[in-house]
């Protein structure tokens, strides 16, 4: 049967001749396999125009270069020299995020009580982020960008809710992972930043990391980008599960301290877990000196103190979640209800 279409036809696939089956088919197949088997010892498949040879990569010793477009999780940028964050708390990313994992509060000028174009606290639930990149696409100030660091595996679920101090990266870091993309938006981003800095005062808008970030921040980042074929992934000072030598003990200690801190917080005590998390993180892997990182931790700036409760159960009554946040959640819920009924 043949059916003619516009620009093409339907044709019946050839099922082959019923042959004397003495294993010819299998021998033909084995021939293919054996040739691949031998080339696996002699050849490495480097370019996509070949089909034989070893094509596996001995991760983590060997790493493939990542394309500039690669996106994993969002990070926030701050200017290297002034330490000012590019984010103005315009809520665009929070609104577009499909799983709604971005949360923020806008900074308020303490003298006038008016909101300023800077962010007080910024929080992304990495564990629910789906790496879609819409937040980076929508941001009018180029303040939120997609990171290349993918080695975030951890046993600390609560630690996957990442706050501003851990989201902040210097612009120079982003420049090393995505040079052409940054070059495209650079001028506009800086121009807008200059305008916004004028409306900020005091320490508002300063990145908690900026104080200690060296001039040429993320020194580890600069190295691999310089023409090395297989760059080592940039490991910045992420105080998440840094692999340590005494993993089990370290982990236990950290988990205990987190739990203690959560309990303390539920009772209204000051948050203490951040420093402890850092203190136990393995420093071998961390670009900056541990003391410097610890100093760079945010002074609690009136954001949303997180606890296991507000991660799991929506808005529990006993948290000190910012009031506007509670209001907003309420209105979203009632809006959803209204839509349904």
């Amino acid at each position: 049967m043949t059916v003619e279409f516009d620009r093409g036809k339907a044709y019946v696939v050839d099922r082959g001749q019923p042959k004397l089956r003495a294993g010819q088919g299998m021998i033909a197949g084995l021939d293919v396999v054996i040739r691949h088997f031998f080339s696996a010892f002699t050849k490495k498949l480097e370019t996509p125009d070949e089909t034989s040879g070893v094509f596996t990569v001995q991760y983590p010793e060997e790493r493939l270069a990542m394309p500039e477009a690669f996106r994993n999780f969002p990070i926030l940028l701050f200017d290297d020299t002034t330490g000012q964050e590019l984010c103005t708390s315009c809520f665009q990313c929070e609104r577009i995020c499909p799983p709604q994992v971005i949360h923020m509060t806008q900074a308020v000028d303490p003298t006038t009580g008016k909101p300023v174009p800077a962010v007080a606290e910024f929080m992304i639930e990495y564990d629910a982020c789906m790496s879609c990149g819409l937040c980076a696409e929508v941001c009018p100030f180029d303040a939120i960008k997609m990171d290349h660091d993918f080695e975030l595996a951890t046993d600390d679920r609560a630690g996957m809710t990442v706050r501003k101090a851990d989201l902040d990266r210097p612009v120079s870091y982003y420049e090393t992972i995505a040079p052409t993309r940054w070059a495209e938006v650079k001028d506009g981003a800086y121009k807008k930043l200059q305008g916004n800095i004028k409306r900020r005062s005091g320490s508002i808008g300063l990145s908690p990391r900026a104080a200690t970030a060296p001039k040429k921040a993320a020194p580890a980042a600069a190295k691999p980008a310089a023409g090395v074929a297989k760059p080592v992934a940039v490991k910045t000072a992420m105080p998440m599960a840094a692999p340590g030598k005494n993993m089990s003990e370290e982990k236990l200690a950290r988990l205990l301290s987190i739990r203690a801190a959560n309990v303390a917080k539920a009772g209204g005590a000051a948050p203490a877990e951040a420093e402890e998390v850092l203190a136990t993180a393995d420093t071998d892997d961390v670009a900056e000196a541990p003391a410097a990182v610890a100093a760079a931790r945010p002074v609690s700036s009136g954001g949303i103190p997180f606890s296991a409760d507000n991660l799991l159960g929506g808005v529990p009554a006993n948290t000190t979640m910012a009031e506007d946040k509670v209001e907003r959640l309420k209105s979203i819920r009632s809006g959803n209800l209204a839509r349904r009924g």
């Binding site: 516009d6 019946v12 099922r15 042959k19 691949h36 394309p67 879609c132």
Partner: protein, 374 residues
Amino acid sequence: MLKTQELQINIGPQHPSTHGVFRLVVTVDGETIVDLKPVFGYLHRNHEQLAEVSTYIQMMPFTDRLDYFNSMANNFGLAIAVEKLAGIEVPQRANYIRVLMAELTRILNHAAAVAFMINDMGAWQTPLAFGMREREKILDLFEMASGARMMCNYFRFGGIVRDLPPDFMPLLNDLMKALPTFFDETERLLRENEILLLRSEGVGILPKEVAASYSVTGPVLRASGVPYDVRKAEPYSVYNELDFDVPIGSVGDIYDRFLVRIEEMRQSYRIVQQVIERLPDTTGGHINPAMASIGKQKALKPPVGDVYGRVETPKGELGFYIVSDGSARPYRYKVRAPSFINLTPIGDMCRGHKVADVVVILGSIDIVLGEVDR
């Protein structure tokens, strides 16, 4: 004749043959299947309801998660439907890049689908490694263009998110050199292989009429001998400007499905060749200027009405039925998932065969549970 007692067993719901969380309630008489009932829903993620509280563009990354092997094709489906609804034009260049991505998706899906099917037959891992190798190369290209290997989120209403990066084309040309060798090798490896023939010839036959009455689509339907392909039946994008044939089967058994998939890879290869040829001369940029900013995408409010947009994904006809009430969120959003519909006649295909055939038949349908359950 010896009478034995019928026995009901469950295959799954953990992981029948690595295809996902899915359960088959099988009634067996000895080794023979008397009845088989697929039970799905274990991977339900509320996809359709989510759409009703999301804006149109917010749904784009969620469609990646339907059939996670073919996120580009899923993106295509949603984009086509919404563009039809809102009357958005797509520039020529964007269309060609879309088709390029969709056909690369088909190659990678079939490379993996054939390989997984062989894997289910017991050719443990070797053919799979070959299939995965080619798939990986295509995924590298996707990563370069869209930023992610599998969750591409590459399409936007009116075009695509970003034009191809400069190092994309050289790599694609390299890949095009390797693909014919891969198709031939896969065929040589398995075609007329005695074991494969024993396991697949005459097994899991789905007659034309039954396939049509179950609304089966895609390679499964074509293997049953129905030359139905959305790209031909209702050409979308620029498929009416491209030459390609539709391979069909004659018997409708597993072997036909296998051969049809190999031929489809060759046809997709032809399409990609034509696209590469024409891409430098295309005009119009990667996105319709009226929709170029993400703000426009976000604020998209299609007029009141409903639409059914469909594309031929590697698994079959993927349709999006969207009802708009004029607001920024769909009033109703329904996905016609090819995996789901192709899976429903599995009982008919398996009856009378042996237990060991069930897994192979399931493999030959080529399902992704993410799409079955949504």
